[in-house]
Amino acid sequence: MLKKKQCVAMLLAGGQGSRLGILTATMAKPAIPYGGKYRIIDFPLSNCTNSGIDVVGALTQYQPLELNAYIGSGSPWDLDLAHGGVYVLPPYVKGKHGEWYSGTANAIYQNVAFIEQFNPDYVLILSGDHIYKMDYNEMLAYHIERGADVTIAVREVPWEEASRFGIMNTNAENVIEEFEEKPKNPKNNKASMGVYIFTWDKLKAYLTEDAADPNSSNDFGKNIIPNMLRDQQKLFAFDFNGYWKDVGTIESLWEANMDLLNMPMPIDLYDKRWRIYGRNPGVAPHYIAPGGVAHSCLITEGCEVYGRVEHSVLFAGVTVMEGACVEDSVIMPNAVVERGAQVRRAIVAEGAVIGAGAQVGEATGNIAVIGQNVKLAAGAVVAAGEQREH
């Protein structure tokens, strides 16, 4: 019934993101708001649609509700197609029993039947927690040209950070000869971006082998790639030089937002030929009142600014009342900063209310976090690095 596709994308969107603390208590990591109007998942989805890849299986597991509602029919990304589009794929019962995804490779293995419906030649594996713009089609052409079994996108990281990543040791032709997960003494600084293109037959064979191994942790980095190296399959590295940010921690999420305030922006979100799409809140342009101040910041539609906003990112529907001040902060959708409140170096999650005169965060130190829908009492004080869930 379904049309053959050259390449199908599988997006691992199930990450629990526990290092993001209370921000992921009620939503999956890929659903986290970023950059004033996006969610993290907008980046891989927009990259797919801009690359001409029009079948995306989004593998969800943990807290899929918000992601489900957010993805909906897929129309914001032009993925509401009769022949393809975006499918949300949670684990399901087969025969008499069912099991949750036990690892990244297991998540794909459990969806082999989904992939086979499209009879693809190649499968693109993506993760849902990075900010970057990439033409997967170029990577696919590179993969096909070299007759690779798997191509792994890599980027050079500072040598001193290399030991935090999965490092690819390659020869001069970019053939991967060795893979080291978080090596103490890295021989190379090419880190895996978690973007893989597999020739589907090969991947299927390795997934099947992996599933039969009771000692496997069913993970691409720990099992599939090492097994392929062991068998001397053709593994290539694909160099990527653009902006790439893992937003796995509170600090890195805050930083990724602050990056957009730099001149020039390290990632161009104005490019009409590579738009980042997202679900639109459908509200009026924002309003800066006679007493409002907005400097070096991003403000999107639906906001009302009566106070002062400096070096910050405001999402849709945020209100900053008179005398309030927001600095070096990220204020997520529909949050309210009441009269005279001060928010500094903080992330205020969706729907939170910062009571009049409250103080959140400090001019230096760690990022303070106010959780979703938290109503902070008037005059409350939240220290640097503190997280408020209630």
């Binding site: 950059g35 004033g36 109007k37 129309s75 914001p76 001149m263 979100l269 104005y270 738009r275 980042i276 799409y277 997202g278 639109n280 459908g282 509200v283 009026a284 342009p285 924002h286 309003y287 800066i288 009142a289 006679p290 007493g291 409002g292 101040v293 907005a294 400097h295 070096s296 910041c297 991003l298 403000i299 999107t300 539609e301 906003v309 990112v313 405001l314």
Partner: protein, 375 residues
């Protein structure tokens, strides 16, 4: 009865000469307003929010930008195969190369669409009044009153014009008892909003009879004659929220400036009655180091490094450092370079004001810079 039993028809062929350059290449319905909308968005969204599932838009001249804007109706969830948004351009057949001679002519040409639609009631609207209504109460009142036609009206001074428009006398039961057309000074404060609710079969009958008599305009030639007829019950339904008529450069300008007022803004844009429009997927507006913006609405995609006061910035506008903008409406993708001074201006899309330029109009007669102009 549910609103899904009501279809909307929007006639977009209004006379537009007082809007000068602004409507040279677009219908009034396609005029950009309030930073990211077009005039017709309010009406289509109002219909959809009320539960209407079938909306026909009668196109007249100049409809390319309107068609492009409405697209498949997807933004309004009107893209189904069953019901949805129907774009009705003038018929050009092998014999007939033409433009409608008026709203009645247009309805007559589209009687096939009317007949095929499964709704029993029609809300017939013009597209030059901006308001954000929920029509459910109007429908209930119409059914209760047993009137043949119910007409929406408003007491708002924004609709009153010397020598132009239709004004009613309405009695305590809501029945229209007298009507004035284009009076020098309107005697009644109830201005017709040109929104008519009636049974579809009655409308089709009126259209047939009107066409047979050689009439062209359904408002003037049919409804207004009917008000004077005995035996036909015309009721008025008062709309009490804000509304604006877009019939001149001045009224267009005033509307955009009034939206800066919280009362008007919150009345037109609220969570219960969202206004949908074509999405551009722009990034949020970016304020640079020297930005000083007050009492202004700013849409996504703008980059502001200058001074802006009491103005409306549409999507993708650039304001350079040192620029001073006051009382201006600046449409999509216009570029104001450094050290420009603008006061009381309307810049159409993609206008460019070069570095150091200065344009100061009178507040009663704003300067209009046409689309794509570079000054």
């Amino acid at each position: 009865m549910a609103m899904k039993n009501v279809m909307g028809i929007i006639y977009t062929g209004e006379r537009d000469s007082y809007l000068r350059e602004l409507t040279l290449m677009r219908a009034i319905a396609a005029l950009p307003v309030a930073g990211r909308y077009r005039v017709i968005d309010f009406l289509v969204s109002g219909l959809v929010n009320s539960g209407v599932k079938n909306v026909g838009v009668i196109m007249q001249k100049n409809y390319h930008s309107l068609m492009d804007h409405l697209g498949s109706g997807k933004e309004w969830d009107l893209h189904g195969k069953n019901d949805g948004l129907y774009i009705l351009p003038p018929f050009l057949t092998r014999e007939n190369v033409g433009v409608y001679n008026g709203s009645l002519d247009a309805l007559h040409s589209n009687s096939g669409y009317l007949r095929r639609s499964k709704q029993e009631y029609v809300l017939l609207c013009n597209s030059l009044i901006v308001f954000n209504a929920n029509f459910s109460d109007m429908l209930e009142t119409h059914l209760r009153s047993e009137a043949d036609v119910t007409i929406l009206y408003s007491k708002s001074p924004n609709l009153r014009r010397p020598e132009y428009g239709t004004y009613f006398e309405v009695n305590s039961e809501g029945i229209i008892t007298d009507v004035e057309i284009d009076p020098t000074r309107p005697r009644y404060e109830n201005a017709c909003m040109e929104v008519y609710l009636l049974r579809k079969d009655l409308l089709m009958d009126l259209v047939d009879r009107g066409a047979a008599h050689g009439y062209h305009d359904i408002n003037r030639d049919v409804f207004q004659r009917m008000i004077r007829d005995a035996g036909i019950r015309m009721a008025g339904y008062e709309y009490t929220d804000v509304c604006y008529r877009m019939d001149s450069v001045q009224s267009y300008f005033n509307f955009n400036m009034d939206v800066l007022d919280a009362r008007v803004r919150h009345s037109l844009f609220s969570e219960e009655k969202p206004v949908y429009t074509k999405v551009r997927d722009e990034m949020p507006a970016r304020y640079l180091e020297h930005a000083r913006v007050v009492n202004t609405m700013v849409a996504d995609g703008c980059i502001v490094d200058g001074n802006v006061e009491h103005s409306m910035l549409f999507r993708g506008v650039r304001i350079g450092k040192g620029a001073r903008i006051k009382n201006c409406v600046i449409m999509q993708d216009s570029v104001i370079e450094e050290d420009v001074t603008l006061e009381n201006c309307i810049l159409d899309k993609q206008a460019v004001i070069k570095r150091g330029g200065k344009l100061i109009g009178p507040s009663t007669y704003p300067i209009v810079i046409s689309k794509d102009m570079t000054i």
